[in-house]
């Protein structure tokens, strides 16, 4: 009897099931909740399905998700990056300056801005690795440094004469559907990140040091270098989100990024990324960002009195997250 059972266990070993299934269930729950809200708002919130609304809804979700990604990659190694907004704002201004003052072509300007964002991320990582200080406090301080530096250099003057070819990525609709090219950029990023975390050594390494830094180091992983890459990637994504915001706002304004810090945690956290590290969900982050954008847009359209809106938003957010957790538990997640 025992022998047959062992054989059964062994044949099943080849299947990749178990925890993967649970994660899928959680995601499914989130998908159902989001879809539920879409159906609800389509039925009861006048104007929800109008092209105009959908265009903005998807665009702001795309930016929120990209900001969420910038946080997610550092969460994956068990760190935090409180300077996502500062990096997004500073690199956005940098891109604006390149395009407006130096006349650099948009593609090159964005590339340079991304490079700047990456280096700022590297700077964060260098401090984290060298000083052994908590990433929370390091990036809290660098956020001030970066924003301060940007203010000093730009005197807070915005750049608002940006080339149409650049603004197009946020403003135009794609072939008659209410989707901006921005949204496709975000989906592209999501695809790449999904592959990184699923099937690359780098993704695995980031998750490993996020889950247990000590064990990862004692398994021979180059912890310092991986921290460097993760923070660099975070800077890169923050810069990308900065460029996206500049395009969406028509302007490189010094205020961009000032309110990203909290928001950056929301999409990953709803999506099932562990804030303590070691577990991320790329598709969850996408859904999380979409869910928040959906709820706030839908509630606004439902004539929820404005000042009470945030009460509803908070309540619905809690409900959504709570429901998601309950579904996961019912789905069989171990305690």
């Amino acid at each position: 009897m025992s022998a047959t059972r062992t054989v059964a266990v062994r044949t099943r070993l080849t299947e990749l099931r178990g925890t993967g299934l649970l994660r899928t269930l959680g995601l499914l729950a989130l998908l159902i909740i989001t879809a539920g809200f879409w159906i609800f708002f389509s039925a009861f919130a006048t104007g929800f399905t109008s092209d105009f609304n959908l265009f903005f809804l998807l665009r702001s979700a795309a930016i929120a998700v990209t900001i969420g990604f910038a946080q997610m990659v550092v969460l994956s190694i068990g760190d935090m990056n409180l300077s996502v907004g500062a990096i997004g704002g500073a690199t956005g201004m940098f891109a604006g300056w390149l395009m407006q003052v130096l006349g650099v072509p948009p593609a090159l300007a964005v590339l340079l801005a991304l490079a700047l964002g990456t280096s700022l991320g590297f700077g964060n990582a260098a401090l984290v690795v060298w000083t052994h200080l908590n990433s929370f406090i390091v990036t809290l301080a660098t956020a001030s440094l970066i924003t301060g530096g940007m203010l000093i250099l730009t005197r807070a003057r915005p750049f608002s004469n940006l080339p149409d070819s650049f603004l197009g990525i946020a403003q135009i609709e794609l072939g008659g559907v209410p989707v901006a090219p921005l949204v496709l950029i975000m989906l592209g990023v999501a695809l790449v990140l999904g592959l990184v975390y699923r099937s690359t050594s780098l993704g695995r390494e980031m998750l490993a040091i996020g889950a247990n830094r000590q064990a990862a180091r004692m398994s021979g992983l180059a912890v310092g270098r991986i921290v460097l890459v993760a923070h660099g990637l975070s800077g890169l994504l923050a810069a990308l989100a900065g460029a996206m915001s500049v395009a969406a706002n028509n302007t490189a304004s010094p205020g961009i990024g000032s309110d990203w810090v909290l928001a950056s945690f929301v999409a990953p956290a709803i999506g099932g990324t562990l804030l303590s590290g070691g577990l991320v969900s790329v598709s969850g982050t996408v859904l999380g960002g979409l869910l928040v954008a959906t709820i706030s847009s839908g509630l606004l359209l439902m004539n929820v009195s404005n000042f009470w809106l945030s009460v509803f938003l908070g309540a619905v957010l809690l409900l959504a997250v709570g429901l998601d957790r309950i579904t996961r538990t019912v789905g069989g997640a171990a305690s």
């Binding site: 104007g47 105009f52 609304n53 903005f56 809804l57 203010l151 807070a156 028509n250 304004s253 606004l300």
Partner: protein
């Protein structure tokens, strides 16, 4: 967009006034849009406040209002530059947009900006204080977010006034202290403690004004001359009791009222005259102790004047 906007109709407009965030300054606009709705027989009028000072929230709110069928927008941009994104989208839909209370910065698709001339107002305020100081002494300037371009205009205006006074006036600038009452209160008091020689204060943002007005009352010091901004009850009381030389009144009611009128006219087919200016001064006046009871009427009268002359002056129908 562009398919469902109601550009060029003959029906009355549905006008929404959207401030940049929650702030007592905007409360008179609520009454203004209600009055405008009856006076101009608008299809509907509403006043909706984003729950926080975030451009993203304002964008969302405007998007939803547009989706709900509003077709004329008076906005106080949360971010004077970044608001251009949403403005372009609204205008490309065929809906007229005007800025009320504070300008959306140029280049912009916004038709008009009905606002206080912040530079002129700050200049007047500074001039008044310097005069009250006897043309010499140390002047403290308390103002708002550095990332807000209005702050720069105010900063420049105050500097200009100080410059005109020659080297006898020293300027101390405290920026970024309009985040909340606490920040302003502590910073203003610390500045008063740090610079015992301060003889004048000019504030060009709400929280610093209230904080400084309170501080002067607490200190009981009438030797320090001050001009503030806005008509918060605390500020007004301080003016009345002589702690302030005055405060720069603005005209939020008029801004929203005239804005609603302009939007309705443009919706009915009027076009902005090619030589019409973008910025239209909605009026500002120094509320000195003797005017605390009457300034509201003065603004109502001014509002009526501007509205009556608006069509002829700025629009071609």
């Amino acid at each position: 967009g562009g398919t469902q906007g109601g550009g060029g109709g003959t029906t009355a407009a549905s006008v929404a006034i959207v401030p940049g965030g929650p702030h007592p300054y905007f409360e008179p606009m609520r009454g203004a849009i209600a009055d405008a709705t009856t006076d101009f027989k608008l299809t509907k009028g509403s006043f909706e406040v984003p729950t926080d000072w975030k451009q993203d929230l304002q964008n969302q709110l405007l998007t939803s209002l547009a989706s709900k069928g509003y077709n004329g927008f008076g906005i106080f941009p949360t971010d004077g530059d970044a608001a251009n994104g949403i403005v372009s989208q609204l205008v490309s839909r065929g809906d007229p947009v005007v800025a009320v209370g504070g300008c959306v910065h140029e280049p912009t698709k916004t038709s008009f900006c009905l606002a206080t001339d912040v530079g002129a107002s700050a200049y007047t305020a500074a001039k008044t204080v310097i005069q009250a100081m006897g043309g010499k002494g140390v002047l403290l300037h308390g103002t708002g977010l550095l990332t807000d371009p209005n702050t720069q205009l105010r900063d420049q205006a105050v500097k200009k006034a100080v410059g005109e006074a020659g080297s006898s006036v020293t300027l101390i600038t405290l920026a970024d202290i309009d985040k909340d009452a606490q920040t302003a209160d502590t910073a203003i008091n610390q500045a008063l403690a740090a610079h015992k020689d301060i003889t004048g204060i000019v504030t060009t943002a709400y929280n610093p004004t209230v904080a400084a007005a309170k501080a002067l009352r607490t200190l009981g010091d009438k030797r320090i001359k001050m001009v503030g901004i806005d008509d918060d009850p605390t500020t007004l009381a301080a003016v009345k009791d002589g702690f302030l030389v005055g405060t720069m009144g603005q005209n939020p009611y008029g801004q929203a009222y005239i804005g609603a009128y302009a939007l309705d006219q443009m919706h009915r087919g009027c076009k902005k005259k090619s030589d019409a200016p973008y910025f239209i001064d909605s009026g500002t006046l120094l509320i000195s102790p003797d005017k605390t009871a009457t300034y509201a009427n003065d603004f109502k009268t001014l509002t009526k004047q501007i509205t009556d002359g608006f069509k002829a002056k700025y629009l071609s129908c």
